[in-house]
């Protein structure tokens, strides 16, 4: 183990690594590779990755929590979608289930669910989901005062300086996205998927439900369609991404291009040192829909980077092999810093 430099970051200021798990094997590799927190969801619409065959039942959650705790990691359960009046009971039951199986915290977006959780299970730690869409310290402090949230995940729309201002003005721990596919809209409020399919991630737990997706190869190339709407067409040398409307290539005023954003992945390795210095508490990795092989590769790189950043903040630099490993598993042609470095606000 490398000796700590005199400038080593005190443990209280170290950032936690929060990794995704869609399956029990993914949880295990995340923990083995050094995740501090692993987040996961139930097999239903109470979380925003409600996909066939993915997620946990009570038996796998219990096994996962026991595995994580044995190795000193924590398990966070995402209940980050919005109930409707007719199905409110499902979210209430999910909160009870999370408390019963011994989750270390739940990640919640809806104010009603937060209220229920804080009244019924006062010892259950609450994290405000990115889907809660709280981008200002006023919003985050509101959730703190009313529901006692412990941590908030910042939506991927803030620049670094804006995140820093939020952190300085709230007692709530701040978690930011470090790596993964980008969802470019204001999280928790995007209805693009509903427009083409009648279902959105906010209420049904999945952007672009699989039943509405069709991939087809024709002489014109490989096409992806969502609810019949042509999302993109890829020539042989082009790389497809997830078929969501925000990543679509459309004809606008006669030009065909990506009017929202090109399919890219967020990668903030370069910003780790300033994020740590400004007091970010946790770095989140996106990708509960990805395989254990992805989780293993990403967790390994980010563990190494966070250790390096904590041990020698002055000398922190991004190693080419980290970037290389991450670029191999990214969606889209390139990794970007997303809104963290966007010139416009």
């Amino acid at each position: 183990m490398a000796a700590l430099s005199p400038q080593a970051t005190p443990s209280s200021a170290r950032m936690r690594l929060v990794c995704p798990a869609g399956t029990l094997p993914a949880l295990k590799v995340a923990v083995d590779e050094g995740a501090d927190d692993v987040y996961l969801g139930f097999k239903d619409q109470t979380n925003a990755r409600n996909f066939a065959g993915l997620n946990f039942n009570d038996a796998t959650i219990r096994e996962g929590i026991a595995y994580a705790h044995r190795k000193g990691a924590q398990v966070l359960i995402a209940l980050n979608t919005y109930p409707q009046p007719h199905n409110w009971r499902n979210w209430r039951a999910a909160v009870d289930r999370a408390a019963e199986v011994g989750a270390d915290a739940i990640i919640v977006a809806d104010a009603g669910v937060l209220r229920y959780a804080c009244k019924t299970h006062p010892n259950l730690r609450l994290h405000l989901s990115v889907q809660g869409s709280a981008t200002s310290h006023e919003a985050i402090n509101f959730y703190y005062e009313h529901f006692g949230i412990h941590r908030a995940v910042l939506p991927r729309v803030l620049a670094v300086e804006q995140a820093e201002k939020v952190i300085a003005r709230t007692p709530v721990e701040i978690e930011v996205f470090g790596f993964g596919s980008l969802s470019i809209m204001v999280e928790g409020r995007c209805a693009l998927s509903s427009y083409a399919t009648g279902e959105s991630p906010n209420t049904h737990g999945g952007c672009s439900p699989a039943k509405a997706i069709r991939w087809q190869t024709s002489s014109a190339g490989m096409e992806s369609r969502l609810g019949g709407v042509l999302i993109d067409r890829f020539a042989d040398n082009e790389h497809p991404g997830y078929p969501t409307l925000c990543r679509g290539r459309f004809r606008v005023n006669g030009d065909v291009y990506y009017p929202f954003e090109e399919p890219t992945s967020l990668n903030t390795l370069e910003l780790l040192q300033p994020l740590q210095a400004m007091g970010v508490k946790a770095i989140k990795i996106e990708g509960r829909q990805r395989s254990p092989a992805y989780v293993e590769a990403v967790t390994r790189v980010w563990r190494a980077a966070l250790n390096h950043c904590a041990a020698e903040p002055q000398h922190y630099h991004v190693k080419p092999e980290w970037q290389n490993a991450l670029a191999q598993i990214s969606e889209g042609h390139q990794c970007t810093l997303g809104a963290y470095h966007r010139p416009w606000r």
């Binding site: 066939a52 065959g53 699989a210 991939w215 890829f234 497809p240 191999q328």
Partner: protein, 150 residues
């Protein structure tokens, strides 16, 4: 960023495999599936896959494995009706997937894995495969990949 190209099968192996008739190859494959994976597939997933037809094509080897699920068992089929899912990749990439050395979405983004057909079923299969732990088989496959990696 593009992945390095996967190694192709040696020509001699290609020739031999090319001569294998399709049905016996599918039969051998489903026997292997029933032996190694069937019991690990949750019953509700096998039920959902009942009567769906799958094609796994290894283009470099010229092999097409065709099978379906009947009474919760994988069985070979010869029918040429449109399959629910048609997978295409190289033999090497299939092995890296089975060994969990590669991530299916990455291969898909890089046009190395093509999946045509019903996306919901594709996700169900992919995600279920991810829940299955077969450590000994995987260790063996990993050893094989190391021995032959370029």
């Amino acid at each position: 960023m593009t992945l390095a190209p996967s190694p192709r099968l040696p020509r001699t192996v290609q020739k031999v495999v090319n001569r294998l008739p399709r049905y016996p190859a599918s039969r051998a494959f489903t026997t292997l599936l029933n032996f190694t994976l069937r019991r690990k597939f949750p019953a509700d997933v096998l039920e959902a896959l009942e009567d769906h037809c799958f094609v796994i094509e290894a283009e470099d080897a010229g092999v097409q494995l065709m099978f379906t699920v009947r009474r919760k068992r994988f069985v070979p089929t010869n029918t040429l009706t449109e399959p629910t899912l048609h997978f295409r990749a190289s033999t090497w990439d299939y092995i890296t997937l089975a060994a969990r050395e590669a991530d299916p979405d990455t291969l898909f983004f890089n046009r190395r894995l093509s999946i045509e057909g019903d996306t919901e079923t594709a996700l169900l299969v992919k995600n279920t495969m991810d829940t299955i732990d077969i450590p000994r088989t995987r260790a063996l496959l990993k050893m094989m990949l190391r021995a032959h990696s370029p």
